[in-house]
């Protein structure tokens, strides 16, 4: 193996990459645009619940309930309907997320010590959001009940009750951005490294220059290294820039060690570069390679826990996700960003990523060399 030959190949690759104007948007603009768009758009927070009400009793008690809802920052009463058909119609047209119906005997029942039924309809079409909405609504109702009991019976009910002190760790305000933005960095690295390596080799194949490379004294392993080193350098640089940008732009907390992330990225790149190499052996044109890359990325992306929690998947699929390198990288990058944990906690992920990476990479290299011979 000659480092000189590898160096020259790396240099050629860099020149080729930056000379082609078409590559510039892919390398420079796309990562930032994606980071910004993802960072602003990915959010499953339940923030602004639009509520429609029908108040047929129009009394102090019914107004108190509406005030209790409005006082909670999550809810905002946007529609006051006159009868329930009107209310159901706005729910149907997606103008409100929650509908509240109070009957004409609402206050009478409360004052006579009876329970007054309140009918609450919620739009369940996004079921995860609906679950949260239901939880928040029942919380408001429970608080309302407690204060009403105190008001009506004028006595304290000191019974032995559980006082749950729920503390949310790592992301106390349940801010979607803290969860998604570190993940985006991982996804960006994956897309870029997969795409660039497979393209780099296919391009030579397509233009026929691979034959020229083969007749040079370059040995297969040198060719592979020369093709891969530039992309390791580029993705690592990009990762540093993107993470720094994310930290400042989105004021993201980085609780752990930055260099641990870079080390994790190296192991992660083993798998993605290996996959890129593999794709280049099964494709003959750039277009085929692009398509194949895309259909590799999609399952990697969906089955990684980036958006859809792995714990909610069927068990068989949960087992399959162990083959997904992005899964481990996401745990590491989120662990370092949000939890501030180090190698002592994350070593299983590091180890799995390394084993997976070595297997993918060596088998891709083997296959690639066979193609060259």
């Amino acid at each position: 193996m000659s480092w000189l030959r590898i160096r020259e190949l790396v240099r050629k690759e860099f020149i080729q990459l930056f000379r082609d104007k078409k590559n510039r948007p892919l390398l420079i603009i796309a990562p930032f645009v994606q980071l910004l768009v993802f960072g602003y758009v990915l959010s499953t927070d339940v923030k602004d619940v639009r509520v429609g009400v029908v108040d047929q009793s129009r009394t102090r008690e019914s107004r108190m309930l509406m005030d209790a809802l409005n006082a909670n920052r999550t809810f905002r009463i946007t529609h006051y309907a006159n009868h329930s058909e009107e209310l159901e119609e706005v729910l149907l047209e997606r103008k409100v997320d929650l509908a509240l119906k109070m009957g004409p005997d609402f206050s009478d029942r409360i004052r006579s010590g009876d329970s007054a039924p309140v009918q609450i309809l919620t739009d369940g079409s996004m079921s995860n959001m609906a679950s949260l909405r239901i939880a928040y609504t029942s919380l408001v109702l429970d608080r309302f009940n407690q204060s009403m009991i105190r008001e009506i019976y004028k006595q304290r009910l000191d019974y032995g009750k559980i006082d749950a002190r729920i503390r949310t760790w790592y992301n106390p305000n349940l801010d979607s951005r803290n969860f998604f933005v570190p993940g985006i960095v991982a996804v960006l690295i994956m897309i870029l490294s997969l795409l660039l390596t497979s393209m780099a080799i296919i391009r030579e194949k397509e233009t026929g220059t691979i034959e020229q490379l083969i007749v040079t004294p370059l040995r297969p392993i040198e060719l592979i290294l020369g093709k891969i080193i530039p992309y390791i350098i580029i993705t690592q640089t990009l990762m540093i820039i993107v993470i720094t940008f994310a930290i400042f732009w989105f004021s993201l907390p980085l609780k752990g060690n930055f260099f641990l992330l870079l080390a994790a990225a190296c192991l992660f790149l083993l798998s993605t570069l290996g996959t890129g190499l593999f794709i280049s052996t099964i494709s003959t044109t750039q277009q085929q390679a692009m398509m194949t890359v895309f259909f590799f990325i999609l399952p990697f992306f969906m089955f990684s826990g980036f958006v859809f929690p792995i714990a909610s998947m069927p068990t068989a699929i949960q087992w399959l996700t162990y083959l997904n390198p992005l899964r481990y990288f996401l745990v590491i990058i989120r662990g370092v960003f949000l939890k501030g944990v180090g190698i002592a906690v994350l070593w299983p992920q590091f180890l799995s990523m390394m084993v997976l990476g070595l297997i993918v990479f060596t088998s891709a290299v083997k296959r690639f060399r066979k193609r060259l011979d």
Binding site: V41, Y159, W169, P309
Partner: protein
């Protein structure tokens, strides 16, 4: 427009497709596979929240509390630990979502009618998951307390106090709160958009790259005929994809339509045509397969996934992105699918979305047509 010409172009395109096994595979099998796989596996629902408990009180009552917790389908107690430090390790490793610590003296407090604190630690990294888990545990403790209140009142011999208001929460449109009911239709919309535009983005660029565009230009074929002929094979493939996916969704995942099937076919027809004309337009503009492919992925995949109200609600986005969602075709198709699948709506409610899609189709195909004409077709 001469149907014979259109047929000839369509046949040529069809041969291209069939001859190249790989693109047939990409066009037909992969999308179906993705829809099935994602429809089967992706879910945002939360059940069996992994929980570790640290019972420092070790009494009958605390054990009973833990038993009740485990019996509920919302929680799955994976470990009983001895001290809260090891619970923290579990949280750090991400091997549990929740840790519940019952402090010593808990039972004594409860029996003496004092409030007894219970520590719940929640891994908040995934806000969606954590928020729902927090809702579950709050509701669980609330109902546990209600039972205790009733027994307290009975002990005092007081008449039973009724809760002043009785909130009867009902869920509409997706009664059993199953996230597949909105994820499966959404996935169909996204995959069809990607596949439709990605495949067609290549077909005209290919003619330019191979130099066969000159040949086609010299033929007595008009621009409209050319575009239509190019689109037809892909249209059929995408339509079959949709129909199979809808059928599978119904049979395998129990995602059932509440409204008319024919309305769905109509909506899919329009939506597929929008995707295809977008792809063809990209192809004409870029004239290079590689660039066209990249552009198609960039302007269809991410926007359809992110800006279409699929799983990320538009209401949470900054204003500028909210405006952007209005120009994404998938937004309207997902709205229509939501209406058909979950709300049981008909054309009387959905006509606006239909109209916008038709408008997009007209605009996109006209731009493509006039650009081809400028090229001399």
């Amino acid at each position: 427009m001469n149907p014979v010409n259109i047929k000839a172009i369509a046949r040529k395109e069809f041969y291209h497709l069939v001859r190249d096994f790989r693109s047939m595979y990409l066009a037909f099998i992969i999308p179906l596979l993705l829809i099935l796989m994602f429809g089967y596996a992706l879910s945002l629902d939360v059940d069996n929240v992994r929980t570790v408990v640290v019972d420092q009180d070790r009494t009958e009552l605390s054990r009973d509390f833990i038993r009740k917790l485990n019996a509920s389908s919302y929680f799955d107690i994976i470990h009983h630990l001895n001290d809260s430090m090891s619970a923290i390790t579990y949280l750090d490793q991400g091997s549990t979502t929740m840790a519940i610590v019952i402090p010593p003296g808990w039972t004594a407090d409860l029996k003496a009618d004092r409030s007894a604190s219970l520590q719940v630690l929640l891994d908040g990294s995934d806000p969606n998951y954590a928020g729902i888990s927090r809702g579950y545990i709050t509701a669980f403790i609330e109902s546990y307390n209600r039972d205790r209140l009733i027994s307290f009142l009975n002990r005092r011999g007081m008449e039973q106090i009724k809760a002043p208001i009785d909130g009867r929460i009902r869920v509409w449109f997706n009664e059993d709160l199953n996230s597949q009911n909105f994820i499966v239709p959404g996935i169909i919309a996204i995959i069809i958009m990607i596949v439709g535009s990605m495949l067609t983005s290549l077909v005209i660029a290919r003619e330019y790259e191979n130099g066969t565009m000159e040949t086609i230009r010299s033929l007595p074929v008009g621009g409209g005929e050319f575009l239509l002929g190019k689109a037809i094979p892909y249209f059929l493939i995408a339509l079959i994809d949709v129909l199979v996916a809808v059928f599978m969704g119904q049979v395998l995942f129990g995602v059932v339509m509440k409204s008319s099937f024919y309305l769905l076919v109509l909506a899919s027809t329009i939506y597929i045509s929008v995707a295809l004309s977008l792809g063809l337009l990209i192809s004409i503009v870029t004239k290079s397969q590689l660039v066209a492919n990249q552009m198609a992925i960039l302007i269809t995949f991410l926007p359809s996934l992110l800006l279409s109200n699929f799983v990320f609600p538009v209401g949470n986005m900054p204003k500028i992105f909210q405006i952007l969602t209005y120009i994404i075709p998938a937004t309207y198709f997902i709205d229509i699918l939501n209406g058909i699948y979950l709300r049981g709506l008909g054309l009387s409610h959905l006509w606006q979305s239909f109209l916008v899609l038709v408008g997009m189709l007209i605009v996109l195909s006209n731009i493509g047509f006039s650009m081809l004409r400028k090229e001399g077709m």
